[in-house]
């Protein structure tokens, strides 16, 4: 029996191949996501293994590796005491800082775009477990004032050679440095910087530039003697430390840092897996459809098997066995394609600064197992309904000429569809508007149920659309149009099931379009309503810049006011968030903070204001104290007022500049708001201040708005690219259905040719039928997407997305695109149909 199933599979290689496509793409997504996340994982673990010593001594709360800047240090007089700890081979103090970027000859920032720019002091200390740490691969280590080394890839990207004078920008009092490049460094024992840049100073210079000249270190490495474990050494070092310092093993530090970074990029994997899910759902639709058609075409053959004594179960099982083989084959191809996809994702991320080019492909067993499991199970699940239907074929049908496969009643499907729709809508609403656990799953499940519901009900829902097409077609295209319209209506289940794949892709794309357009409109409105001053000075990489810039700008001709804003990552009441700091005089000035509770004059050093939203979300009122974990330690800060939301303040908690400095954060500005007298040439004069600093830019309102819109555009574009894959699957689905229909209607096509339909008319007929499917999918998808988008926007209204904007032009483009897709999808099946040999087609069984 199984053998018969496999035989029939081989006999239909073409159909097999086409139904496999969907699975291939779905599995490729799953595999690609997993492979890429493994690569991320490995590269992050590797980078930190050779960048930590055996034991690290650092100020408590001041982890320097995760990018949280800290001004807290380890005093240098601790070093001799640590050297005398038994088992310590050597002790080295290190200075490190972030926000230090290399500028190329062409005045372009290297790295940037999210990849950190790290500065470290040179040390030849070995990394943990005796690994060689940073080593000089060309030239020599920096030895004094005005000398630096760079990591090999940063130097290469910037086009600098040893001996050149290079430009480095920092967020300290001296924004621009112009040292000589004396050497290139790299990690000798593997480990990649993943696109981050490394600028190496000698210890004295590093202390002078980054620590204000203190004789201190940001951390200290203690290297273990042979035979002493990291844990033993850590325990002994601990005994020597004063209370505000901590010692951890290198292994722990590497894990800690790796995990922190991984968490930061884990959204990438989640994101990709969501798209894998979409691809698989769309794929499952197509497989169910393909198997329905294949089974229908073979019903006579299956009836014959029944007549020859095969049981219902055997017939069903043979179809499922076929599905298993198709699934396994698709999964195999999908795994291969997944590798390519992972490489593509790697290349994509290299563009935005996360350079993993040093990290090879990791093909973990988990990836293989997940790929096959998902691929085979989904194929079999999708084939389950058609397979069960085969069991209802009576043996006697083998003797009949035309066999109709029994199908479930359309009304039962309508009822099932409506039930699914209602339940799905309820789940979606609950997930979006109610405060329930696992809201994400509810939303996803709700959307899936709505898709399934619409698909189930669509043979009925689509009737008016199909009818309209039928009338329109026969009016415009005459008998050929009439035939095409009739063909689309002849099996509404098949037409609508094929259209569903496109529906899902377009529904999601429409939702994204509405989301993106609304987000941009909201950003525009907020900026329009609230932009004060004339210019905003910001750092394109989001990191701080030197306060000297603000000082210089205040001196520029025509400048009236400079408002400084600083943002610091702080753990407030146990939650990681940002705290803003401003000069308290500016609260009444440009910022014009409107208070809901308390007075802005109450904000003294050491106190904080909270936004109304923050107060509501966290149950904080004036008079409470907030516990904040800062580099200087944990402290309590009194809340002295609540302010109404102000888009100029990007944080829920505001304090004064000295408060933040006292908490141990470096004094660097994140944003300046500049008010001028409007005299001509002010913009140019301000630009001149930052001409040497490609990271810092001066923007007026329009420029600022477009800068704020840019990330939204990028995100929407990225999602479109991924949804494009869902569209590819949908197109393949249409191709598949049409090709199968052509095979099924061979005799009819032969008849049409015999009585005088030309090849061109035949091609047009199939093209028109394809357009019906595509437009049906597009219309359903656009309608669903509109509903999703608007509902989602309502749910997000509290998040500051107040404007609901429906991008009409874009939606029309989608519709037109789907017509084009329809025509394109028909090309191959239509050519096949046109090439049919008339005589053979008429004689075909």
């Amino acid at each position: 029996m199984i053998k018969a199933a496999l035989r029939s599979l081989l006999g239909r290689k073409m159909r097999l191949l086409m139904s496999t496509f969907a699975i291939v793409l779905g599995v490729a997504f799953v595999a690609g996501s997993l492979i890429f996340s493994d690569m991320l994982n490995r590269s992050f673990t590797a980078i930190f293994a050779s960048s930590v010593g055996d034991v690290i001594v650092r100020p408590e709360g001041g982890a320097s590796v995760d990018g949280t800047p800290s001004t807290l240090t380890v005093p240098s007089d601790l070093i001799p005491r640590l050297e005398s700890v038994p088992g310590a081979a050597r002790v080295d103090g290190n200075v490190s800082a972030v926000g230090v970027f290399v500028v190329s000859r062409e005045n372009k920032l290297i790295g940037g775009n999210g990849a950190p720019g790290i500065a470290v002091s040179w040390s030849d200390a070995p990394a943990g477990h005796g690994l060689e740490g940073l080593s000089v691969v060309e030239g020599r280590a920096p030895e004094g004032d005005g000398e630096v080394a760079l990591d090999v890839s940063a130097a290469e990207k910037a086009g600098y050679d040893v001996g050149d004078t290079i430009r480095v920008i920092t967020s300290t009092d001296t924004p621009v440095l112009q040292p000589e490049l004396v050497g290139l460094v790299d990690f000798a024992d593997g480990g990649s910087l993943n696109g981050a840049t490394l600028t190496v100073f000698d210890t004295d210079s590093a202390q002078r530039i980054f620590l204000g000249g203190q004789d201190a270190y940001t951390d200290v490495w203690v290297t273990a003697e042979g035979g002493t474990s990291q844990a033993e050494l850590r325990d002994r070092v601990r005994e020597e430390l004063p209370g505000d310092l901590e010692a951890i093993t290198g292994d722990d530090a590497a894990d800690e840092s790796g995990n922190m970074l991984l968490e930061a990029v884990s959204f990438i994997t989640t994101f990709l897996l969501i798209f894998a899910g979409i691809a698989l759902v769309v794929g499952a639709f197509l497989i169910a459809n393909t198997f329905s058609i294949l089974v229908a075409q073979r019903s006579r053959e299956l009836a014959l098997l029944r007549a020859l004594g095969a049981s219902q179960r055997q017939v069903t099982r043979s179809v499922l066995a076929e599905a298993a083989v198709v699934g396994a084959l698709g999964s195999t191809l999908g795994l291969g394609l997944g590798i390519l996809l992972a490489l593509a994702i790697r290349a994509m991320f290299a563009q935005v600064g996360l350079d993993l080019s040093g990290q090879g492909i990791i093909f973990a067993p988990r990836t293989v197992i997940a790929g096959y499991t998902v691929g085979v199970l989904i194929t079999m699940a999708a084939a389950w309904l058609p397979a069960r239907r085969t069991a209802r074929i009576a043996p006697v049908q083998a003797l009949r000429d035309d066999v109709a496969l029994p199908e479930s009643s359309i009304h039962r499907r309508l009822v099932a569809g409506i039930v699914l729709l209602v339940v799905g809508a309820a789940a979606l609403t609950a997930g979006l508007f109610l405060d329930v656990p696992r809201a994400g799953w509810l939303v996803g499940g709700g959307v899936l149920m709505i898709f399934l519901g619409v698909t189930a009900a669509s043979p009925v829902l689509a009737r008016p659309v199909l009818h309209l097409f039928g009338v329109l077609y026969s009016r415009v295209f005459g008998p050929v149009g009439n035939l095409a319209g009739q063909n689309a209506r002849r099996n509404p289940r098949r037409t609508t099931a094929t259209a569903s794949a496109l529906m899902i892709g377009l529904a999601l794309a429409t939702t994204m379009a509405i989301l993106g357009s609304s987000a941009k409109a909201s950003v525009d409105r907020i900026i329009e309503d609230n932009f004060v001053g004339d210019y905003v000075v910001g750092n394109v990489v989001g990191q701080g810049f030197s306060p000297a810039i603000g000082d210089q700008m205040a001196q520029v001709d025509g400048v009236q006011t400079v408002v400084r804003q600083r943002y610091a990552p702080v753990e407030v009441e146990g939650d990681d968030t940002y705290v803003a700091a401003v000069d308290r005089r500016d609260l009444a000035g440009l910022l014009d903070l409107t208070m809901a509770e308390g007075s802005r004059d109450d904000l003294v050093d050491g106190a904080v204001l909270v936004s109304e939203e923050y107060a509501a979300d966290h149950g904080v009122t004036v008079g409470d104290e907030l516990e904040m974990d800062t580099p200087a330690g944990t402290d309590r800060y009194p809340v002295v007022g609540e302010y109404e939301e102000n888009p100029l303040i990007g944080a829920g908690v505001v304090t004064t500049l000295p408060t933040l400095a006292a908490a141990g954060y470096p004094e660097s500005d994140n944003q300046l708001i500049i008010d001028t007298d409007g005299s001509p040439g002010v913009h140019e004069r301000l630009d001149a201040v930052v001409a040497d600093l490609p990271v810092v830019s001066v923007k007026d309102q329009a420029e600022f708005a477009s800068e704020q819109r840019e990330p939204i555009d990028q995100l929407v574009l990225m999602i479109y690219a991924l949804l494009g894959l869902a569209l590819v699957i949908a197109v393949l689905g249409i191709v598949n259905t049409l090709a199968l229909s052509v095979i099924e209607r061979t005799r009819e096509l032969g008849l049409l040719r015999a009585i005088g339909i030309s090849r061109r008319q035949l091609r047009r007929m199939i093209g028109l039928e394809s357009v019906v499917i595509a437009v049906l999918g597009a219309v359903l998808g656009l309608l669903l997407g509109l509903c999703f988008g608007v509902v989602l926007m309502y749910a997000l209204r509290d998040e500051g997305l107040e404007v609901i904007s429906v991008p009409g032009v874009q939606l029309v483009v989608f519709l037109v695109l789907s017509i084009v897709i329809g025509f394109l999808a028909a090309v191959f099946p239509a050519r096949r149909a046109a090439r049919l040999d008339v005589l053979r087609a008429i004689a075909a069984e």
Binding site: R489, R747, L751, A754, G756
Partner: protein, 254 residues
């Protein structure tokens, strides 16, 4: 060989076949389907082509109807030599000059009977001649069934729709391939009557391939094929005379 050879008919020919040869396969497996066949199909005549399986009767009809091409020789529909035509011209020829009735699956299942009948004209972008259309509908007595889809019609009714479709464009020649092969004898008789009437009342030329002597008895002339050659011919056939020839040929063969 009997007296029945290839004498030219006095009436002008609707289709002429000259030295038509077609073989399938090659080497020892080679089958000669048509072996230098020459034949005139007279206009306004109802001709039956008979012969045992493999005699080449279907191949002959397919070649005449522009559905198949021969290895050598030529086929004329009217004055037009089919062997020189490309697909486009052949399609147009089938549409405008030829009518078809197949053994089964004659109708497009998505179209109503009326739409099926009008289809060849509609494809050509021509309006059927209203009077002639009514005559045809009347002849096939389907006036009350025109809005039905093929699956709502009986086998006999479907074949009558197919005949109506073949007639409505007034083709030069109608080819019928075992048109009664799938029908019970009463429905078959109705279809044959219909074809007969179209010849008698409207001067339609009809060529029918059949192996049923009863069907052949409706025709004016029966051409017998054997091993790819015309081996005999009967005028004004009756069932008995057709059977007689068939038996004789079978004996000769055995």
């Amino acid at each position: 060989m009997t007296e029945a050879t290839l004498q030219a008919t006095p009436v002008p020919a609707a289709a002429r076949v000259r030295n038509l040869t077609k073989t399938y396969g090659s080497g020892p497996a080679m089958v000669v389907a048509l072996d230098d066949v020459s034949l005139d199909l007279a206009a306004g005549e109802f001709t039956a082509v008979m012969g045992p399986s493999g005699s080449g009767k279907s191949t002959l009809m397919h070649c005449c109807a522009a559905l198949d091409t021969a290895d050598s020789g030529s086929v004329f529909i009217g004055d037009q030599d089919l062997t020189s035509l490309k697909d486009k011209a052949l399609t147009r020829l089938r549409r405008d000059e030829i009518g078809f009735v197949f053994q089964s699956f004659n109708l497009v299942p998505t179209l109503s009977a009326a739409e099926n009948i009008a289809l060849p004209m509609a494809i050509a972008g021509r309006k059927p001649d209203r009077d002639w259309y009514d005559v045809v509908i009347d002849t096939v007595s389907l006036a009350d069934r025109l809005d039905h889809k093929p699956n709502e019609l009986s086998g006999g009714q479907q074949q009558r729709v197919a005949v109506a479709r073949a007639l409505v464009s007034r083709p030069r020649i109608v080819f019928a391939d075992e048109p009664t092969g799938n029908l019970d004898s009463r429905s078959g008789a109705e279809v044959l009557e219909l074809l007969r009437r179209s010849v008698d009342d409207h001067g339609q030329t009809v060529v029918m391939v059949t192996h049923d002597p009863v069907a052949a008895a409706y025709t004016d002339r029966v051409v017998f094929l054997g091993d790819g050659r015309v081996v005999d011919e009967l005028r004004e056939p009756t069932r008995e005379r057709v059977l007689e020839v068939m038996n004789r040929l079978a004996e000769k063969h055995a």
